[in-house]
Amino acid sequence: MHKSSFSVLAIVVLVSSAASIRAGRFTASLVAPGTVEGTISYTGTPPKMKPIDMAKEPSCAKQHATPVMTESVVTGPSNTLEYVVVYVSAGDQGGPASQPVRYDQKGCEYIPHVAVMGVNQPLEIYNNDQTSHNIHPMARVNSEWNKSQPPGSPAIKTTYDKPEFIPVKCNVHPWMHGYFAVLSTSRYSVSDGNGKFSLKGLPPGKYTLTAWQEKFGTQTQDVTVSSGGTAKVNFTFKATPY
């Protein structure tokens, strides 16, 4: 009796506090979140990726047994596309993310090729090479900067406050090209080597998804997520050889 009343009290306190913290959490506790997953593929002939000649920077060249290829259009098995960013462009966009996004320069490559971050989410850029790089995110909406990072100098920490797809380049090593995808949502996914992506933990409801590829541009689709269900969405880009 005494014990049960205590547990009831505890539940009330928990629930009420949870509710007071966030209505969403409260409903979520009753309704299971859904998932959107799918595949990115292309039709037509994509451009042939070229091998990168790193002869200029022996310290990097010797890190790669086989030559690194350019990454502007990376294809996977059965006409799938890698490095395509899929994100919620309309619908519940989730709260701001605070954990820092890490961007590495290793073997004169950008890892990952596309770094996705929310607005004002901290970004940390590291130089793991024995040579000095210069990071030049060529922002147009956000403010542009260009700074070199000698080996052994501390990480460059920064944030972007407006959504934008920012091409990133290193002038010292002209083949180094990557992207910062700054999104106004924290619900996003980047397609893997098999062109697969999945957005987990979406509250049930209607969403507009946008898929972005650096050469082929964007596509959007509407999707409805049911409680605990998994919606399938596929994007197909039209590829040209040149």
């Binding site: 000095s132 060529m138 070199s148 000698p150 080996p151 052994g152 100098s153 501390p154 380049k169 002038n171």
Partner: protein
């Protein structure tokens, strides 16, 4: 501020009259103070560069705090280039041009020709303050968001013209650089105008051109060079500024893709900037060195106690150099892509200009023959000047030939060459001036013992710094590199470390000079009117001279400045203003 109390209102007025003084002596000292600040800045910048070259990843305390470019106190490549650019610009414009020409010239020239002041005291005052503003603008470039400029003191277009896309330092930093140099040109034009008018019109009775001291001749000729050179650099700066801020295309050709962006400009000619710049740039070398010629030739007779050998020949040589300096600018552009025929055309006058230079050197050495040397510090720096001028001048033989320049161009050989002939030689000329004229300027003697230590350490130091650079150049070591990652240059790093150590050592030796300068200013023994038994007019008036230089009267001149080693009434020399008759030279 407008308090009725007169004593309060009077004081600031007095201060302003001091600050914006019209007295050429005050203005000359202001110029020298400015270049003292500038040379200290430039020297510190060069230390940072040398430290970085020797130990590229070494953490430098406090640096991270004062500059955005050196994250965590480690000098980035762009920051190294900024240091280099600022070092070059500050040293060439605000030290080598201001100190020997504007500084000493302002103080001494009117006195040497027996004038009360410059022809246009207001222009004179303006020329200093304009120069001062230029310096402030340049230093401000250190603290702008996109970083200080990094396209070198030559600011080659299009790098200097296209703006931010071309990388750090190409934003406001470069714009401020152009503005600063433009302002500086105006200051120098006002100064040159003043020097020329003064020398032509304000000479006292009996001061014929032939009787002018060699230093005055040098300043006069330098003023003429400067007048032409800076009135060409100014338009060049205007064009560059318009390219940067107004979207014109004087220097920027079509179809440039910078940082993946196609530039909106079309049709400009990058070589046009190089031609305009070097048309100024080469004469600038002589603007820096000719006053040194004059000062050394002015001091040498006084310390050897015999007349300068071939005084007229010497002046003709300076004039010849001044004239030829306008026919040789192309030798900076042998590799620039201009028509290769013109390289041969430019190389001939470049080699010919070594003849008058060689003659003057021989005249100085010949003057030493049979001398009765007085080894005061000024004398030692004269000798040092001759030695480094010979070293720097001779390496010019290599660079004057397109065939050899095609190997040595853009290497440390060039750096060693122009630091000897333009940097160190001019600096030694300045030191001669300081040690020789300090008594006249401040009425106190400098400490000779400290002076001699300063000389010998500096002399050894500069050879340890700049001679090895010639060897680096022969080995193909490229200048303006912030680190030596290229395989064939890695072997040069030990020698670079040696140079760095030598540079720090030489820099430390300058502390002796600074100490001597400030101590003597207040503690030095009182100087007589003519401590060196010299002949020119500045030694006929008190030390320091009264406001109107000669206390109400105007000296009358009877002799040339070169009357040494003769039986004069008060020794082995005859003052220019002493009425005694021309004696027969007592020399055998």
């Amino acid at each position: 501020m407008n308090s009725p109390d007169s004593s309060h209102t009077a004081r600031p007025a007095g201060i302003w009259r001091k600050v914006f003084s019209l007295d050429h002596k005050v203005i000359g000292r202001q110029y020298l103070d400015l270049s003292l600040v500038a040379v200290t800045t430039g020297m510190i910048l060069s230390w940072l560069m040398r430290l970085h070259l020797a130990w590229p990843t070494r953490y430098i305390p406090f640096l991270g705090a004062i500059s955005r470019e050196a994250t965590g106190g480690i000098i980035t490549p762009e920051y190294y280039l900024s240091l280099m650019t600022m070092h070059g610009t500050i040293m060439v414009f605000f030290v080598l041009t201001t100190a020997p020409f504007a500084g000493f010239g302002n103080f001494i020239l009117p006195i040497q020709i027996g004038a009360e002041d410059m022809a246009f005291p207001r222009f004179n005052m303006m020329s200093f303050w304009v120069t001062f503003v230029a310096f402030i603008v340049l230093v401000a470039a250190f603290f702008v968001p996109e970083g200080p400029p990094l396209s070198g003191w030559t600011a080659y277009a299009p790098l200097s013209a296209v703006g931010k896309d071309a990388g750090p330092g190409q934003g406001w930093g470069q714009t401020l650089w152009v503005i600063s140099i433009g302002i500086f040109c105006i200051g120098q034009l006002l100064g040159s105008l003043n020097f020329i008018a003064t020398t032509l019109d304000l000479r006292t009775k009996g001061m014929t051109l032939a009787r002018m001291p060699f230093s005055t001749w040098a300043w006069f000729i330098t003023a003429v060079i400067g007048l032409i050179a800076f009135s060409v650099l100014l338009p060049a700066c205007v064009l560059l500024l318009l390219d940067r801020v107004a979207g014109t295309s004087f220097f920027i050709p079509a179809g440039l893709v910078i940082s993946d962006r196609l530039q909106p400009h079309a049709g400009g000619s990058p070589l046009l900037w190089q031609h305009l710049f070097w048309f100024f740039g080469h004469p600038e070398v002589y603007i820096a060195i000719l006053p040194g010629f004059g000062i050394v030739s002015h001091v040498l007779p006084a310390v050897t106690r015999k007349p300068l050998l071939g005084p007229r020949v010497f002046i003709v040589c300076m004039a010849a150099i001044a004239f030829l300096s306008y026919t040789v600018w192309g030798h900076h552009m042998f590799m620039s892509g201009m028509n290769p025929f013109s390289a041969t055309v430019f190389s001939v006058p470049t080699l010919i200009i070594t003849i008058p230079a060689a003659i003057t050197t021989l005249l100085w050495i010949g003057t030493l023959y049979g001398a009765k040397m007085r080894f005061n510090t000024a004398a030692l720096f004269c000798l040092g000047f001759i030695s480094v001028f010979v070293s720097g001048g001779i390496s010019g033989f290599f660079l004057a030939q397109p065939a050899i320049d095609s190997y040595l161009h853009g290497t440390y050989f060039v750096v060693g060459h122009f630091h000897f002939v333009m940097g160190v030689a001019s600096m030694f000329g300045i030191f001669v001036g300081v040690y020789f004229w300090f008594p006249k300027m401040f009425g106190r003697m400098m400490n000779e013992t400290l002076g001699k230590w300063h000389f010998i350490l500096t002399f050894i130091g500069v050879y340890c710094i700049f001679m090895p650079m010639h060897w680096l150049g022969l080995a193909g070591n490229v200048r303006r590199y912030s680190a030596f990652t290229v395989d064939y240059m890695k072997g040069s790093i030990p020698l670079h470390r040696f140079i760095t150590v030598a540079a720090l050592f030489t820099g430390a030796a300058q502390l002796i000079f600074f100490y001597n300068l400030f101590r003597s200013r207040f503690r030095g023994e009182i100087a007589p009117a003519n401590p060196w038994q010299a002949t020119s007019l500045e030694w006929t008036t008190s030390s320091p001279p009264p406001h109107d230089n000669f206390g109400g009267h105007h000296p009358v001149v009877y002799h040339g400045p070169n009357e040494y080693g003769v039986a004069g009434k008060d020794g082995d020399y005859i003052m220019q203003n002493s009425p005694e008759p021309e004696p027969v030279a007592a020399a055998s």
